[in-house]
Amino acid sequence: MDGSSVEQAFLAMENGGLKGSSKEVRLGKTAHNMSSSSLRKKSDLRLVSKVRCGLIRSFLGNLQEVILGTKLFVLFPAIPLAIAAHVYGFGREWVFALSLLGLTPLAERVSFLTEQIAFYTGPTVGGLLNATCGNVTELIIAILALTEGKIDVVKYSLLGSILSNLLLVLGSSLFCGGLANLHKEQKFDRKQADANSLLLLLGLFCHTLPLVFRHAATSTQAVALPTLQLSRASSIAMLVAYFAYLIFQLWTHRQLFEAQEDSDDDDATSEEAAIGFWSAFAWLAGMAALIALLSEYVVGTIEAASDSWGLSVSFISIILLPIVGNAAEHAGAVIFAFKNKLDISLGVALGSATQISMFVVPLCVIVAWIVNVQMDLDFHTIETVALAFSIIITSFALQDGTSHYIKGLVLLLCYAVIGACFLILRAPLGNTSILNIGNTPTNNQVLRL
């Protein structure tokens, strides 16, 4: 969009909102955006308009829009509390918990800000931005953990994100949607689910090969290097697949992925930009910095939290972290399933899972390659088995294009079983190998819990 229409949009907003915004403005409206938009409330600009100075007024307007524009704003105080806890040396598990709480609204705000920026940059780049920044929390946590050498935390947290999206988010959406629409038929578009399932299966294949390779070899030391090389090559292939999928989604087959829009849906946010481009950009940079800070706290204090809460690190990484990180998307997906708009829920859940599996994981392997950390695609046996089952069960559940509450319940129960497995089987055995995760940066062969 060129500058003049931006100014028009801005002025029109100041004059009380646009009516029936033009098609050019209604762009890049992916499922992610629409799901997060259910958590927003329209900010009331009347209070701000009383302030006389124009600059402060616009700043306060921004503030109100960004900070208070979400129903999750009650969690925002957790951020300064977390920083205070860290600086003043409260218990480390407090730092962990508060950082986790603080990350939830930040993730949602980042998605809102990228949506705002997307208004100015056009549909394609906007879609790209959305696709990339949809999982910014997981990405930052993963890279930070990598730089500290905690490879297992990286693997577990990414795996946990995939599992949580596939089973928990999707399962609860299908379940609640099925219960709320008992007498209606619930359909969704198969093609999107099919494309995502194929990519997830490709990712699963890339995870299985190094694992089986390692088991088939006679000695573990001899296969460390070939496994690493295989993982790096697979990561490049996965990134190629992901970029092809982006082209598929945003360019050649866009009509398959257009989110369902309801003309009489009056609680969706209006289609104009609420803040200017540069302010959005500045806010985005600030939020990203905050996310990095909180993620650093999370990664640094995870062992302490695990010790004091009596849960294993793997359980916290696989189950707790993703639940918190995905909370906003999760709520949005369930709400859309209630309204029988399953395509959006599927877009959120499956799309996130595909992004993490095909983009974040290989990206981490490549980044590890660059900083000389030996991360490979071998997630250990149980995790790969759990991942395989989740993908297969989800593919079967989604393959016929209809849904009912049993499907959602089965997915939820699978998640419960996998969660119980990691809770019970990975209980801290009392040996020192868990505590050594942070201290052995390079060789992850000893870290087989």
């Binding site: 759990a386 297969i392 069960i393 079967f396 319940l409 079983v417 089987l425």
Partner: protein, 493 residues
């Protein structure tokens, strides 16, 4: 006359070997049978008019009762029934005897496999005469495991009769409770075997038999139904309801997930299993069992609600061909017969579980093969025949309901229930099967899922499933997986 023929050899053998009968209840059982035979001699010349009034008296009173929710299991069994001839019993001396005889005729003779009922008293006799163990008599091969074989044969008609009786009871209790009773009593045989095996501490045999039931239902029963149905309807299109199949496959996959996770935990850790690890595996199995039982309850709710809407439409379609679903015996007599049959099932299952090792050594077949392949084939025989008959008539939904429904119920209900019962009995029963069994289970579920995913069927799909079952049986026959060999240490018995 028929009764006389049946009882003559019994009385002969009994009089010869009276001193071996040591228990009173066996005597009572035989006494009842002998009395019934004597009474039936006098009722052979009957007047048909009284038969009709008797028939009408029973039936008219219930004609306004609720229509039965006929699950696939019931309808499959009804194909094995023949209508009893009322003329035989219409001339009894008193109405009480008449009731008893009508009941007897309906219950015992109302099935085409009533001949197998002979095996029950023979099995009881063999047990007390020691045919299975000690070579006390030179009647044929003294080391032939008579008790085992006869008990197996006797279980088949009993399972079918239990289903018939629950169907009758369901007339009185309404469709919802009736459907529930059907669902529960369909697994009565397996459940009773499970409890008895747990009580005797034979945990591996229990796991093997449950696994064998699932495999037999998924591959053998389903495969033969699809195969014969496909051959019989070569020119027609064979469709079935995909939604039911989908739900069943999903639940089966959930069950396989619960079996796989503990298995791979054992294969993933390098360290030797400490006792703490063994305890956590057991805890995981128990938690998974609770999850599976929750899934089962919701599955029942889902099924019963849907059945109420679907079945009304189907009844109108299949009026002419299905057996009429009227009530033939009263509620309390059905209930009494049900209790009696359950007791006999328990007795025979007890024999089976106790003598399985003896049978295995004397026949030279591994225990694994007996429990995984042979026992379920016999136990499922009646359902199997019913499912094939339905596929023949191009009613694939019924066949799938029988086969897939049984497999799902065992996987989601009986298996976790036995883990919970083992928990109560302080037995170390868990969901962990060895890698061979888990692999065959997972492969079966995946193959069936792919075969059923498009809602159509042909004989080739049935062939593939049957061949799969043959391969698995050959595997268990040849490889001789004795229970302690493949299951890691803490679980070998």
């Amino acid at each position: 006359m028929i009764w006389g023929f049946l009882l003559a050899p019994f009385t002969v053998v009994l009089s010869l070997n009276y001193e071996y009968f040591v228990t009173d209840d066996v005597m009572r059982l035989l006494g009842v049978v002998v009395c019934a035979a004597k009474v039936s001699e006098t009722v052979w010349e009957m007047d048909t008019n009284e038969a009709c009034s008797v028939e009408n008296g029973i039936i008219n009173g219930k004609s306004n009762g609720p229509r039965l929710v006929g699950t696939a299991d019931n309808l499959s069994f009804s194909s094995l029934r023949k209508k009893s001839d009322w003329g035989l019993v219409a001339h009894t001396v008193s109405s009480l005897f008449r009731q008893l005889l009508i009941n007897l005729q309906v219950v015992i003779l109302g099935t085409k496999v009533w001949l197998l009922f002979l095996a029950i008293p023979l099995a009881i006799m063999a047990q007390y005469l020691g045919y299975g163990r000690v070579s006390a008599f030179s009647l044929g091969d003294a080391t032939f495991p008579w008790v085992f074989a006869l008990s197996l044969l006797g279980l088949a008609p009993l399972a079918e009769r239990v289903s018939f009786l629950t169907e009758q009871i369901a007339y009185y209790t309404g469709p919802t409770v009736g459907g529930l009773i059907n669902a529960t009593c369909g697994n009565a045989t397996e459940l009773i075997i499970a409890i008895l095996a747990l009580y005797q501490g034979k945990i591996n045999i229990l796991k093997y038999s449950l696994l064998g039931s699932i495999l037999s239902n998924l591959l053998f029963v389903l495969g033969s139904s699809l195969f014969f149905g496909g051959l019989a309807n070569l020119s027609k299109e064979q469709k079935f309801d995909k939604n039911e199949a989908d739900v069943n496959v999903l639940l089966l996959s959930l069950g396989v997930l619960c079996h796989t996770l503990p298995l791979f935990f054992q294969y993933s850790t390098e360290a030797k299993l400490s006792s703490a690890n063994a305890k956590s595996m057991l805890l995981l199995s128990r938690v998974s069992s609770i999850v599976l039982l929750v899934a089962y309850v919701v599955y029942l709710l889902f099924q019963l609600k849907i059945l109420q809407q679907l079945f009304v439409a189907e009844q109108n379609v299949s009026e002419g061909e299905a057996e009429e679903e009227e009530v033939v015996i009263g509620f309390w007599s059905a209930f009494g017969w049900l209790v009696g049959m359950t007791v006999v099932i328990a007795l025979l299952s007890d024999y089976v579980v106790s003598t399985i090792e003896a049978a295995s050594t004397s026949w030279g077949i591994s225990v694994g093969f007996l429990t995984v392949i042979l026992l379920p084939i016999v136990g499922n025989a009646a359902e199997h025949v019913g499912a094939v008959i339905f596929a023949y008539k191009n009613k694939l939904d019924m066949s799938l309901g029988v086969a897939l429904g049984s497999a799902t119920q065992i996987s989601i209900c009986v298996f976790p229930l036995s883990v919970i019962i083992g928990w109560i009995m302080h037995m170390e029963m868990d969901l962990c099967l060895s890698i061979l069994e888990t692999g065959s289970l997972a492969a079966s579920v995946i193959i069936v899922a792919f075969a059923l995913q498009d809602g159509l069927s042909n004989y080739m799909k049935g062939t593939v499933l049957l061949v799969g079952y043959t391969i698995i049986s050959a595997c268990y026959f040849i490889l001789d997986p004795s229970p302690s060999k493949f299951i890691p240490e803490p679980y070998s018995q």
